[in-house]
Amino acid sequence: MTERITQGMLATNLLADLQNITDQMSTSQEQLSSGKQILKPSDDPFGTARALAFRDDLASNQQYQTNINNATGWMNATDSALQSIEQLTQRARELVVQGATDTTGADGRTAIAQEIDQIIDSIKTTANTQYAGRYIFAGSMTTTAPYTTGGADSYNGDTATLNTEIGAGVQVPMNVTGASVVGDGSTPGSLLATLRTIENDLNSGNTSALQTTDLQALDTANDAVTNAQATVGARSDRLSTALTRLQSIQESTTSLLSDTEDADVSQVMVNLSQEQTVYQAALKAGADIVQPSLMDFLQ
């Protein structure tokens, strides 16, 4: 028996088909206007999980870049402070050599001693350098000036290491403490203690000490400064390498995220125009099929 087709069936089927194609057009249009192919998790549950993971990665990545930029600023400030200290130490060395010669008289040595005193103050001022309101040589006591200019040579910070995170669980130390570079006036062999000894030797005219032990001690103390410079340089390199790596990861993750959740506009446009064609055809066919009945032809 052939299937009977009633007018009701024709109308119901036509309506269902039209609704179906309208639904598809609405999805395409939503994709076009939002630019996304995943509008809600059920559109692609697995893709949604990927998109969330990529977004998470991107957010962490950007934060690590912020951390690195902050640490780089800190290290640049450290580096230029260390350079100043290094230059001041070189100047002190020249003065020691000058003061150690017997041709320089007692007056000359007193004058040199005064300049050394100035250098000590300059070094302390430099060691009190701040970056974004934080004392960079004070260890973790970043709100306390590590040295008192024109006062005692004591170090007022601590020896704590400040780290910055440049990757998941990867921490890079970013500070060098004043104690390890300039030292404390009460610690023999530290830069400040050595310079104080030199000043005293100059004042007392102890040229033999100036020629031998003082000069050696100053060179040794200067090594601490150059070592710190080397350390800071190496860390800066590490940071800039990490930054480059993070930037390239950011680029690839962004592109993966886009592949996952962004709509392929040209593809969607093609789909939409196909759907429109089908919709119009369905309307036309519907109008032709539903309208006539046997009544149109009976007398």
Binding site: R4, P41, S42, L52, Q63, N67, R134, E165, E261, M295
Partner: protein, 455 residues
Amino acid sequence: MGISTFLGLETTLRGLLAQQQEIDVTGHNIANADTPGYSRETANLVASTPQPVVPSGLLGTGVTVQGYQRVRDNFIDIQLRAQTMKKGYAEAQQNGLNQVEMSLNEPSDTGLSSLLSSYWAAWQNVTNAPEDLASRQALAQSAASLANGFNSLASQFQTVVSQTQQQQTLTVSQINSIGTQIAQLNGAIASAESTGQQPNDLLDQRDLLIDQLSELGNTAVSQTAGTAGQYGSLDITVGGATLVTGTTASSLTLASMTSLTSGQLAGMQSVIDSIQDPTTGYLTKLNQLAGTIASATNTQHALGTDLNGNAGGAFFDVTAGNEAATLAVDPAILASPALIAASGNGQVGDASNATAIADLQQQTLLGGATIDTAYSQLVTQIGADSQEAQQNLSNQTSLVDALSNQRQSVSGVSLDEEMSNLLQYQRGYQASARALTAMDQLIDQLVNRTGTVGL
């Protein structure tokens, strides 16, 4: 035995009346072409009782209308109702899960996942300037936004549950109202049948009500015990509970339907369960997430020192058992961000404790998953469940559409068919009238012209 002179008149009259009734049935069909649940009817014509003629045999006496029959295939009804129940289930489930999914607002830049990212980043920013109150203020705000995100998601889940429960209540009263109507129809059908009539239109109405009932809950139909006859009255159970026995309708409650397996009611229940299930429910998992964030942050926070040199106090406040809805940043922290214990060694410049809290992002705190991953898994699960419900709905819709087409193909009114029938019956009527005229002329011949020789 001879034949009555007027037998022919009787025979043609029966023909005329039968054709007229056929035309009436056709008119009834056309009038109900768009009536939901209507089954087309046909008049059952049989040749009327013949008259014995000696010695020739039996002489036909025309036609009789034996009854009006609705054209319906009960087997399609059974199949259609079974699939309608499943469609109702999928429909309710898809509806509820769609709401759940919409409340997630993922993937986007404003969903909970981006609030989580901002929260972790805010801790990192504190490590870049732990002495700075501005970065601490930003952290407190970011944590408050995260807490609000959890609160609002939990309340939206709750809203879906309470709305679904309201719908269930409405659906149950709809079921009860249908039950009352079916019980009344049972009575009307039984009394019509007892007088030998076929109550076609009442049967259609009852079938339509059973169709509607099938969409709401799993419905079983059986013949009422003790009713003989072709249709009789029907007993209905919904969700395992008796709704109609003969002419008596019971008032059901959600609790009395103990074995709801399909239909909208069961679909709604599945939505409620998938949110509230104590181990796998979405809300349960959201509570676990909020609870873990609060406890992990608080534990690590207590190990640090704040800007005033004191040990860290509570960072998040949370009520056990209802974590997502109650998660909040401790008011003391919000009032004074200096109380955020960022320092590990007690000095203001140290931020090792803030780093340790930021690093909680990478720790597998939730059964092998990090907090971010666990959230992403929850989103994926909801997405997959919703996708499955959509596919079920689309499958069931096609099945139900195909079956109702099949039913329409059997029972639906085809106007073309009715028109051609109408032609046929009209011609039949005309022919019967012509035969009547012939009879009339014969009798005229006999009565008026016979035996008038010479007049």
